[in-house]
């Protein structure tokens, strides 16, 4: 029976519509995974020596202190990236499979995920190093098992919290607060949790607790899914009450307003776009890494512009790159109704401009780091409006990934969003403003760097209609291909 499940999975992977067309992307993803594995393995082997020799710390104790952050980051990464174990369950219900078997299979499938395996690449080498260095073998192995169990616990916790958005924001919020408190040495949670993790090593018998916890989680997950394996409970898609909204204020945008209204509803009412939008505003804080001097490698004029573009460009990049894919499920309607392409694109453009301006206001706290920093942000915003807004729309024409609005997964790292053309288009998006800034910075003076970038932005803004003509041509040329691609659903 298990083999037939596995066969089904195999076929669904190799026969999916995206596979044949995007094999290169899959290979690239494979390389990325390999890269992650190698870097995790290097981290695992070297961290002991790094901590002991470079920093003069007791390695295991230090690792245990930061374990809480490691686990929290893991949970976050899972929440955003790990796909849920939806084996195509519905059709299996009518077949002669035992329900418990279906549930066991879908749970085990999550265990074999990349997100669990990757940790072995850091944990195993580290454990081996500990053993070689003469730590108590039994205790080290107990510690290893306990931490592994905790990582698998994360796996199941993720399954539970996946349906609930606010959990995610609580986790990310507390992580930021605790991290900041620790950085500014107000309160250090790791001093409290460190000893707890360390006791797994000191008294190996306590390692049983995480293992039992894992078994408990598995049982809960198993019973939860088994008792909900009905079309009208667990497998039913949740419905929210709909409410007709007028959004009168949008009407002042004229013909563009018709679409703008839809786009606002699109963002508000669909899981995928909602998450995407909320996350994109986190980019506002991205600049903190650069402007606070937190990371040495990011100092220098190049990076200043780089950060400035991202601070206000989060929404622009994450939403814009999927125009028109957001409308993929009803693209035939858009293509046959009485719609002018220009209005349609214009509304997306306005949406991005509005979001950029909102981010700019949100980013006003950068004034705290000096007016020059905020000036960089303002110039970045201008470039985003004047140039990048077109670039993402342009690139979007080549992204032919249908988007399932109702599902949250793949909101990040949608492999198909990367293709040669969209990669090429990142050059004008990021590299050109960086070069322009550096050019001005090194030849005439820092302020002129901003001036050059601003000049290009204003030029872009002035030639909006001309640029739109070009983009329209691209959209029209790609129309049939796009329609055909959206028809294939994965």
């Amino acid at each position: 029976m298990l083999t037939s499940f596995i066969q089904l999975q195999w076929k669904s992977f190799f026969r999916s519509a995206s596979l044949s067309s995007n094999l290169i992307i899959k290979i690239l993803m494979g390389f990325f995974a390999l890269y992650m594995m190698v870097s995790f393995a290097i981290l695992g082997t070297s961290i002991y020596f790094l901590l002991e020799q470079e920093l003069g710390l007791e390695p295991l104790e230090t690792v245990n202190r930061f374990m809480i952050y490691y686990l929290a980051m893991d949970l976050l990464a899972r929440y955003m990236l790990q796909k849920m174990p939806v084996v195509n369950i519905r059709p299996l219900l009518y077949l002669p499979f035992k329900k418990s078997k279906i549930v066991h299979f879908s749970l085990w499938k999550t265990i074999l995920s990349f997100f669990n395996i990757i940790h072995a690449f850091v944990l195993v080498p580290f454990t081996v190093v500990l053993l070689i260095k003469g730590y108590d073998a039994l205790a080290v192995i107990a510690w290893f098992l306990a931490i592994s169990a905790l990582i698998f616990c994360n796996n199941f916790i993720n399954i539970f919290i996946n349906a609930i958005n606010w959990v995610f924001f609580i986790v990310i919020g507390s992580l930021i607060i605790l991290g900041a408190l620790q950085y500014y040495q107000v309160f250090d949670i790791s001093l409290w949790t460190g000893p707890i993790f360390h006791s797994l090593y000191k008294t190996p018998i306590t390692a049983l607790i995480p293992v039992l916890l894992l078994i408990g989680f598995y049982q809960i997950a198993f019973h939860y899914f088994k008792s909900n394996l009905y079309l009208d409970s667990g497998l039913a898609t949740k419905q929210k009450d709909g409410k007709t909204e007028q959004l009168q204020w949008v009407n002042r945008f004229g013909s563009v307003g018709v679409f703008l209204k839809n786009d606002i509803k699109l963002i508000k009412r669909n899981k995928r776009s909602k998450t995407n939008t909320l996350i994109s505003f986190l980019f506002v804080f991205y600049g903190l890494l650069f402007f606070t001097g937190a990371l040495e490698m990011y100092e220098g004029p190049f990076w200043r512009m780089f950060a400035a573009i991202f601070v206000t460009g989060g929404f622009l990049f994450s939403f814009g790159q999927f125009v028109p894919s957001w409308d993929s499920s009803y693209y035939p309607l858009m293509m046959s109704q009485n719609i002018r392409y220009r209005d349609y694109l214009n509304s997306k453009w306005w949406l991005m401009v509005m979001a950029t301006l909102v981010s700019l206001v949100m980013a006003s706290f950068y004034l705290y780091f000096g007016w020059e920093v905020y000036l960089a942000v303002v110039v970045g915003a201008c470039y985003n409006i004047g140039v990048n807004s077109y670039m993402v729309l342009w690139g979007g024409a080549y992204v032919k990934t249908p988007i399932d609005l109702t599902s949250n997964k793949k909101a990040f790292g949608d492999s198909q969003a990367f293709n040669a053309k969209t990669l090429l288009l990142t050059i004008p998006k990021l590299v050109i403003p960086m070069l322009l800034y550096a050019l001005g910075y090194y030849t005439i003076g820092p302020i002129y760097g901003y001036g050059l970038v601003l000049l290009v932005a204003v030029l872009g803004f002035a030639f909006k209609e001309k640029v739109f003509d070009i983009i329209l041509k691209v959209y029209k040329a790609e129309k049939y291909k796009t329609l055909a691609a959206y028809k294939q659903k994965n």
């Binding site: 709909g242 909204e245 499920s329 009803y330």
Partner: protein
Amino acid sequence: MIQVNSLTKKYKEVAVLNIDSLEIPSGEICGLVGNNGAGKTTFFSLLLDLIKASTGHIINNQVQVDMSEDWKPFTSAFIDESFLIGYLTPEEYFYFIGELRGLNQQDVDLFLQNFEDFFHGEILQGKKYLRDLSKGNQKKVGIVASFIGEPKVIILDEPFANLDPSTQIRLKKLIGTYKDNPEVTLLISSHDLAHVTEVCQRIVVLNKGQIVKDIQTSERTLRDLEGFFSEEILNETLVD
């Protein structure tokens, strides 16, 4: 109104549609009949410029559909659920289509009053988004939306499928009101020979992408069509 000239559509050298010439005059209600794979939906997709013809072209009211977009203001269609916007409520969807066709909300509300019995109290003022409606109710919304804004050409792909019996009768009545309207051309495909002969003034039968019958509806059309399709089965059994 609609002129088809040596239109073919090929997928990898296999012709799925091959219509040498077809003319549908203004005001006609034309039914398109054929088995699965006969090319009905392909024809509609070509008419709406959703796919590219391999050769030939379609002219919709003097506009060649793959050259200009000027056919869009007077043409409307409901092909499948990809013509619905799942995250809107039915009202919002109607308003959206209305706005695209130059109607304000009051106009749309007025228009919708005619369809209250068609909706059977299940669609308007409900608390559901289109994606959460049943297939049948989604279809009702799509069909009604295609009548908004007095289009000159209305294209409906399998409008009777998935509808409950009383709605089928109401839909036939609705289509019937266009019978004597010389302005509005309707194109309807269906698998239900009885319905389609009842409402259409002309029936075009497609088989493997070709027009095999083109008849003005009369008393005996239904019998003819049933005869045609059962003959096919007879032939098949003979070949076997």
